[in-house]
Amino acid sequence: MERKSAKELRVIAEGIRLVTLQTLASFGAGHIGGAMSIVETLAVLYGCELRCDPSNPQWEGRDRLVLSKGHAGPALYATLSLKGFFPKEMLSELNKGGGRLPSHCDRNKTPGVDMTTGSLGQGISAAIGMALGNRMNGSDSITYLIMGDGECNEGQVWEGAMFAAHHKLDNLIAFVDCNKQQLDGYTKDVLDMGDIGEKFKAFGWFVQKVDGHDTGAILDAVEAAKAHKGSPSVIILDTIKGYGTFAAGLENNHHMSLSKEQIEDAVREVTARLEEAKALAESEREVLSNV
């Protein structure tokens, strides 16, 4: 896939944020906080890093993504729709009975979703199985995994962390979305995980820490993780829960009801940022073409 600049990826990120908002608005409530904090990561993955074919979601040679924090599904649905896995109209099926977009990711319902998640802690094991199986199959496919920082409370995460390092799964690239909040409050108050990156390092992982809303920094980290051999990689994303919307900075932003006014204001704000990002990317292109 063609490498994109940080500015181009910024455009994709704001596009995903806008569509995620519209998707949540169609239902009137949802996990806005944790969806917004992974938008830049999804933009980097689907913008230029994750190998996939929207016309053939089950293509064997694809890279996989396990969105272990399955409640952030709406952000992934927006991304998959923008990528062309399914038409935008389908996004209004979010949480509708019989629909294809449940609140938590389901590999059997949504084209492009690789694993069923929602019971926190389980995604890492499934991702390990995929990475291990692909290695057995001689495939060069990479398995990406996105976990939450609150999710790291789960013991299964650390069972998986030990296993992946022991088996030197360098085709596994994980992210921990450290947005510092979980359902009941701030992670440091509910169950202080300390320095999650240091913990993974102690388990034998290649650890990088980046600003999780800086598309360029995420892109560089993914490239470095791909180049790294001999151990699994984790990229610790320093993020803000609800980033880029009214939900940022609020205490109870894990799952929220969204008023019409809130949505309208947020859509206006994100649209303005999207236009700004487009202009910046455009001027970058002009500069480059004049070099």
Binding site: N108, M115, G118, S119, Q122, S125, I128, F163
Partner: protein, 327 residues
């Protein structure tokens, strides 16, 4: 087609030997067969497999939940994983992973739960699963099979490798009473009538099948003709056969090496109630925890014997005569 042995005696082969041999033969034929264990390779008898196919044998360490998740992920990229732990851990410690990562995700995961019930002997109460079937039976779309003897192990393991979905295989590890002639084959989802009779049907699974046959012999001396069914597929239970037995013998006794709540007795009772209500008596563990002891001592302690089955038959027959009759 199956054939019942004429004489009841201990199997020449251990169950785990049959399991390992079968899986090795399958692995020779199919590169996608993968074995997983959670630090019980020596117990499961899978050392030869791990030695011969090191690249397809994964010891995850003492981490059963992770093992089931990894098995699910492996199957998502085309592998056919067989994951083993003792039945207590393969069910209780992995319940949510079996539910979400395997069953709900509609993946292809085979789970071997060994040492069911009293066969856990000296490992005692912590390791004695009287509840594994109950824990897993309420998860949709899972197939639960209790393998009766090494001949059945060889056929069932081969079959489930070729059937997509989640299978829980319950298996005693060591020698058991050999029931079937070599080369017998079995139909998953169909119970086997091992002996016919008109007065009562004894529906059993696992180590209780041999006890049921012994009970039928004892009853015959009193001119009570008992039908004996090996209901090795506990889920989905063979509703058609249960109904037929209820109609034809009008009384049923179940016999299981498991708590009477949630296991074979419950499954058969549900089928009886839904099709052709007749009296049912259950032989099994009466809502108790396990403890240490020899298998024989434990069988007596928990009432898992032919004598208990005979007593249950004698309780159920008067109920039948009292006129709790089918519609």
């Amino acid at each position: 087609m199956f054939k019942v042995r004429e004489k009841l005696e201990k199997s020449a082969k251990m169950m785990r030997e049959a399991y390992c041999e079968t899986l090795m033969a399958l692995a020779e034929e199919n590169k996608d067969i993968v074995a997983l264990d959670a630090d019980l390779v020596s117990s499961s008898g899978m050392k030869p497999f791990f030695k011969k196919f090191p690249e397809r044998a994964i010891n995850v360490g003492i981490a059963e939940a992770n093992m089931i998740g990894i098995a699910a992920g492996l199957s998502a990229v085309g592998k056919i994983p067989f994951a083993h732990s003792f039945g207590c851990f393969a069910s209780r410690k992995t319940c949510d992973q079996v539910m979400i990562s395997a069953a709900y995700a509609k993946l292809n995961v085979k789970i071997l739960g060994s040492d069911p019930g009293v066969t856990a002997t000296y490992n005692g109460g912590t390791h004695m699963p009287f509840e594994d079937v109950g824990v897993l039976r309420s998860i949709p779309e899972i197939t639960i099979i209790e393998m009766t003897d090494p001949v059945m192990v060889a056929d069932i393991v081969r079959q489930v490798a070729g059937i997509y979905g989640v299978h829980y295989l319950r298996m005693a590890r060591k020698n058991v009473t050999a029931i079937y002639e070599e080369g017998s084959t079995f139909e998953i989802g169909k119970g086997n009538i091992l002996r016919d009779g008109k007065d009562v049907t004894i529906i059993a699974s696992g180590i209780m099948v041999a006890e049921a046959l012994r009970a039928a012999d004892m009853l015959k001396e009193e001119r009570i003709m008992a039908r004996v069914v090996d209901m090795f597929t506990i889920k989905p239970v063979d509703v058609e056969l249960v109904e037929r037995c209820a109609r034809e013998t009008r009384a049923i006794v179940t016999a299981e090496n498991h708590n009477i709540y949630g296991g074979l007795g419950s499954a058969v009772s549900e089928a009886v109630c839904a099709t052709h209500p007749v009296p049912v008596e259950m032989v099994g563990v009466k809502d108790r925890f396990g403890q240490v002891g020899t298998e024989d001592w434990l069988k007596k302690e928990y009432g898992l014997t032919a004598e208990e089955i005979v007593a249950a038959v004698k309780r159920v027959l008067p109920r039948k005569k009292r006129g709790i009759l089918p519609i």
